[in-house]
Amino acid sequence: MSESDVTRDGVRGARPGREAVTGDRAGRRRRRGGRGERPVVPEAEFGSYYGLPVISKPPWEPLDIAGYLYLGGLAGASSLLAAGARLTGRPGLAAPALTAAAGAISLSLAALVHDLGRPARFLYMLRVCKPTSPMNVGSWLLAAYAPLTLTAAATGVAGRYRLLGAAATAGAAVLGPAVATYTAVLLSDTAVPSWHEGHRELPFVFAGSAAGAASGLALAVAPAGQAGPARRLAVLGTALELGAFHTMKRRMGLAARPFGQGRAGLLVRTSELLTAGGAVLGLCSARDRRLAVAAGTALLAGSAALRFGVFHAGVASAEDPAYTVLPQRERLEALASRP
């Protein structure tokens, strides 16, 4: 576990705030006015059981689940974009968006099933209807959305059954935004501190990120003359994502820290750069194909990096008992000090 020694004076060499010798360093120490203890990092002062995590981290593969979040967002927003493009007479924009939605949702379903411990039982998700389970709600959502998306794309490619195609496109556009945002609830409805504490803003972060991804894909493949909505959506989506993310981190207290540290921190910073850069680049890309492709790629990569960053931040917050114990301690102390 740790390189610590147990001596007559207690445990030496253990990481501060981590060892089980807690009676005199957690609540007790403060109550007694502090005896001559070795200094600890003040904000990390808390008791724990040998530094072991309190909650369990999700048993999910990052590639499967972060990929699932990303592709779901890409699909949902693409469906919307396709419907909007179709309504406003931009077939060159609608066609790739429809295909993107169909491809992304198929891949995302594959990722979800792949991550099950018993993939053969994936249909058990639909044996009940349970609003308290975001994964159940999501399964129903996808069960309705995926066929619509595939129908819309297939009729588009085949160029036949136009009415059916239009209906499917409209249906997918109605469900699309839910597909893109419910995944935030999926993460938040856990005991994982960095996911749960962001439950108010995370859906908006994911909505913005989904808009970024869908506009990125459209920018990269649609003819420049019809890509105007994608350029505007890239800017709006990026603004929503960055704004909501900022608010979220400000409001979630200690649980915001994993978003700025380690692998998650790197991913989040990369995502911010790529997304903001992609949106700006996209604005200047009306006349330059190569610029549009670069902007689109940056937006797509930025959105993916965000989902992986959020995923890893949550895992990091589950692995370190500090994120579970300290805010709960604070809450208890705040309660106790209230008259």
Partner: protein, 321 residues
Amino acid sequence: MTEGADRGGNALYGPQPDVSGAAGCPDAPPRVGFFTDTSVCIGCKACEVACKEWNAIPEDGLELTGMSYDNTRGLGADTWRHVAFVEQSGPFGGPEAAPDGAADVDVFAAASRLGTGPGPARTAFPVTPDGRTELRWLMSSDVCKHCTHAGCLDVCPTGALFRTEFGTVVVQQDICNGCGYCVPACPYGVIGRREGDGRVWKCTLCYDRLGVGLEPACAKSCPTESIQFGPLEELRERARERVARLHAAGVTDARLYGESPEDGVGGAGAFFLLLDEPEVYGLPPDPQVTTRDLPAMWRHAAAAAVTLAALVLGSCARRKR
């Protein structure tokens, strides 16, 4: 989708006197649970062994952690009872120290006096020259809390996790598809996905034994009655008395954990008497069932979805031609 909010305040959190009834089981027997009194736990791990034996839980590695006598580490798919060992060096509250000659004290005599009379009890712990106790061990047998509002059960998408007629929370192994959602949803880190098997497993409070009127294997095997099984209301009563007795005996650190229906999970079906802060034993100090905030989550997700739709349609609005 925000139905949870309308289903009466106590569907998702707060006190819920009739868990089985609320889960759709009329005429249920009284809710049962565990009261684990850690003040008498001797760390023998009989409960861990009995649980593994009775429930035929597979072996999950024979490693030495090197951190204490605890080589199990924590609860999971293959550990449904876990005995925590905490070594602490003083100074401590608790029983007053004997003046000197501590080495000669008859510990059995001292133990038999503990908590019997009014006033502070004397004890046999080794003492430092200034009269303070120097080291103590806290041992505690942890288990699934069988929460009144169980996060694992709420989020399970297949309905594999369900509420039994005894008010406990059990996984139906023929239904679980191994999505693993319940794992991070548990505020105590109890439930786990088993390698190779793919499904999740946790304490069933010996559902099979309860069905035929037996007590769970761990409680049966516990030599000190640290693990007590019974109707929850009765256990709560007994626990409150025990704390009062310990306080009177000078063990002022004794406290109950998880017994209050007012807490963040609506009260645990398996609760504890602890001698230090919960986090020292690896327990969360103020756990909350995550679905408490679910109505707010759905509302925010709905608002975000509308925002997304507005952004996309707004971006498309300016007509090209």
